[in-house]
Symmetry: C2
Subunit: 108 residues, 2 copies
């Protein structure tokens, strides 16, 4: 049975944001991103994939289109296909995000 526990995905690394895959199919992937203070995913866009970020712990600054917003645990942010998006952990705490992409992009 395919059961995972979010609390098991805790791997951080000093060199860069860490991505841990929970589930993947041809239709989507669901990852946990672990960001130390100062780490980020630069703003980018996917032409044909939607992305959702959900904050599990910590606080991150999100870029969605032309907007910026600081969000903590329980926040869910939707970046539809074509919309620029990115995330930075401004600190001081470690941050973990649940990240949905549907469908997985070509380069994933």
């Amino acid at each position: 049975m395919d059961v995972k526990h979010l609390s098991d995905y805790l791997g951080f690394a000093a060199e860069k944001l860490q991505k841990h895959n929970l589930f993947q199919s041809e239709r989507f992937f669901l990852d946990v991103y672990c960001l130390l203070p100062g780490q980020s995913q630069k703003p980018h866009r996917h032409a044909a994939s939607d992305k959702v970020y959900i904050v599990l712990e910590g606080q991150c600054r999100f870029r969605l289109g032309a907007d910026d917003t600081l969000q903590g645990p329980g926040a869910a942010l939707f970046a539809p296909a074509g919309v620029e998006h990115g995330v930075t952990n401004d600190g001081p705490a470690n941050a973990r995000l649940l990240v949905l992409m549907t469908p997985p992009p070509e380069h994933a």
Copy 2:
């Protein structure tokens, strides 16, 4: 900006499980399900959609294929297309689930 907070989706109802939509596109929907003790979603399957359940609070008994499992907060369960799945809140606490379906099924 499309930001939602999971803590805002708290609507339970005595007559049946409540589904609250966070985001939807042609590619997916993301809902919060609120189940009082005793409420359930009967086992069913989707021919061409994947589903993921994530327990936000409470404990639920999940059916995945031929298996049953009792899971609490932070558990993530993957029901690929074609696999029978269902969920019951055995109680005693209220339960909330984050539910991903990709793509939205024809009847959704």
